[in-house]
Amino acid sequence: MSITASGITKSFGGFTALDNVDLDVQAGQLVALLGPSGSGKTTLLRIIAGLEFADSGSIHFDGRDISRQTAGERRVGFVFQHYALFRHMTVFENIAFGLRVRPRKTRLPDAQIRKRVGDLLDLIQLSTQAGRYPSQLSGGQRQRVALARALAVEPSVLLLDEPFGALDAKVRQELRRWLRQLHDEVHITSLFVTHDQEEALEVSDRVAVMNAGKIVQIGTPDEVYNHPATSFVYNFLGNVNLFNGRVDGGTTYIHHAKTDHVVFVRPHLLDIAREPAGENSFGATIKHINAAGPLVKVDAVTEWGDPVNVETTQERFRELALIKGDRIHIVPRDVAVFQEGRSS
């Protein structure tokens, strides 16, 4: 089922959380709403869910206007950041809740409810924990139960609010692979909110980047990462170095004096050399080296005194035999310039 949000505006008191936002999610896609906190992404998700109502604008599911429907009528599956499991119910009863509260005439017979919950417990690999209470489960298990509970009612769309936000890094990675896998099996239209760019880029079919109540860019992970529409997107999607620069006949030069343009360069797009190489290279001094990980992270200070982060391969690092305090030359391979200048 496709989701269309058009012209959504919402303010709380004097604060505009969403400013005329349009969003299209095609049926069967997994889309990430990515943005810093306060960018309005959770508010947009809650408005789509029917937990919050927009001041103006409309929400359509498959072209049907559902703006005035309640959360229950919309049949959305909602997964909360802090799980929101019913603490006085067992895992089994949590998952069965949505099936048990249906009006008598549409409610499944008890045997079918048990069967359906059993299938979902298998799906989330928690069949052995059916009789436990939420407080006896780990964070990752709780979130899987929350997901199964949302899926039990066969929702038209699945909405996830920072689903992995409260988990530790390792579990978070496992769970997001699992979510991707699950989505490939179930094919339910899914929209999830995150502030973690890595998570958004890894899991989703499309990413909508939000800032200050607006969607600034929407596209595939490849599009938004490699062709960011604004300096904000470039900045938000990865580590970045900012330089003053000058654009001359289509070529960008990094400049140490204050100029009109801001040049953005990702740390892995900077090369380290022992000698100056080309017009754009500049001198720097190494302040700190972190060689743990697939890439070596080098913190340096440019000859005009600004900090600069460089990421280089382990091979290149060993070849150059870099140590703290070395004088080096930094050569940009690729840079990005945005007309609106410094973003934040």
Partner: protein, 263 residues
């Protein structure tokens, strides 16, 4: 140092709590068991017990419903005047019960604002049972709400919102999600409310007029018996209230044990 503190606390408890309790029971039984049960054959005492039960039977359910409703809307919703409502709920805690009683007399008494109208319609509030019930309701008003509020505020709205997205209606959400989450706090609130409803003296004394057999509650009856130098009878009735206190303590321990278990 630790033993000194524990010793001081224990001594304090024995001196100010257990000793008086022991005296109450000791005096009640001092003239033998026959005298103890004989006190309850007295019509005035029976009527006082009955009136106390009636006042509690009205005040406790009323304040339970009110407390649930108030804690629910304060804990789960944002609205204008919220802090004013919280202050109003606390009012009976901060006002002396005697003042509360006097306020009722001022409103409903013969010389009060509504007095002439009430007299014209032959309705008796002050110096009658309705006044005692009203005063009891006022004094015990905050107990349930105050027990539930912190819990409801701490639990937030997530579980209720989850229930709504799963298709539950408002009533199902309240019965299956909100209420079970606060049930032990609710039980405790009701127990406290009941204990106070039965033990209230000040406010009830002002509006009662102390007509033995008609408008005397248990605490008033005790005080009257005592003033009449009928010590054994006074202490005998007092054992009932003391038992109520002990039952309250036991239920409180059970509630704390149960809620600790499921939390």
């Amino acid at each position: 140092m630790r033993w000194l503190l524990i010793g001081t606390a224990s001594l304090f408890l024995v001196l100010f709590l257990f000793l008086p309790l022991a005296v109450v029971f000791g005096t009640a039984f001092s003239q033998g068991i026959g005298m103890f049960f004989g006190t309850f054959a007295d019509a005035g005492t029976q009527s006082a017990i009955w009136l106390t039960l009636v006042a509690a039977a009205v005040a406790v359910p009323l304040n339970t419903v009110f407390g649930l409703a108030a804690a629910w809307c304060i804990g789960k919703f944002e609205f204008v005047g919220k802090s004013t409502l919280i202050t109003l709920i606390d009012l009976p805690f901060s006002v002396s019960p005697v003042v509360a009683g006097l306020a009722y007399v001022l409103l409903f008494g013969a010389q009060g604002y509504f007095g002439p109208w009430l007299q014209a319609h032959n309705i008796h509030i002050v110096f009658a049972v309705p006044g005692i019930v009203l005063a009891t309701v006022f004094v015990t008003f905050p107990f349930v709400a105050r027990e539930l509020l912190p819990m409801m505020q701490a639990q937030g709205n997530d579980e209720e919102e989850a229930a709504l997205t799963l298709g539950a209606n408002g009533w199902q959400t309240f019965l299956k999600v909100t209420l079970p989450n606060v049930k032990w706090a609710l039980v405790y609130g009701i127990i406290l409310c009941n204990a106070r409803a039965m033990g209230e003296f000040g406010a009830v004394q002002v509006v009662s007029g102390r007509i033995e057999g008609l408008t005397n509650t248990m605490p008033l009856q005790i005080e009257m018996l005592y003033s009449d130098y009928r010590f054994v009878a006074a202490y005998t009735v007092a054992t009932l209230l003391a038992m109520l206190a002990l039952v309250t303590l036991v239920v409180k321990s059970i509630v704390e044990w149960r809620s600790g278990e499921t939390a």
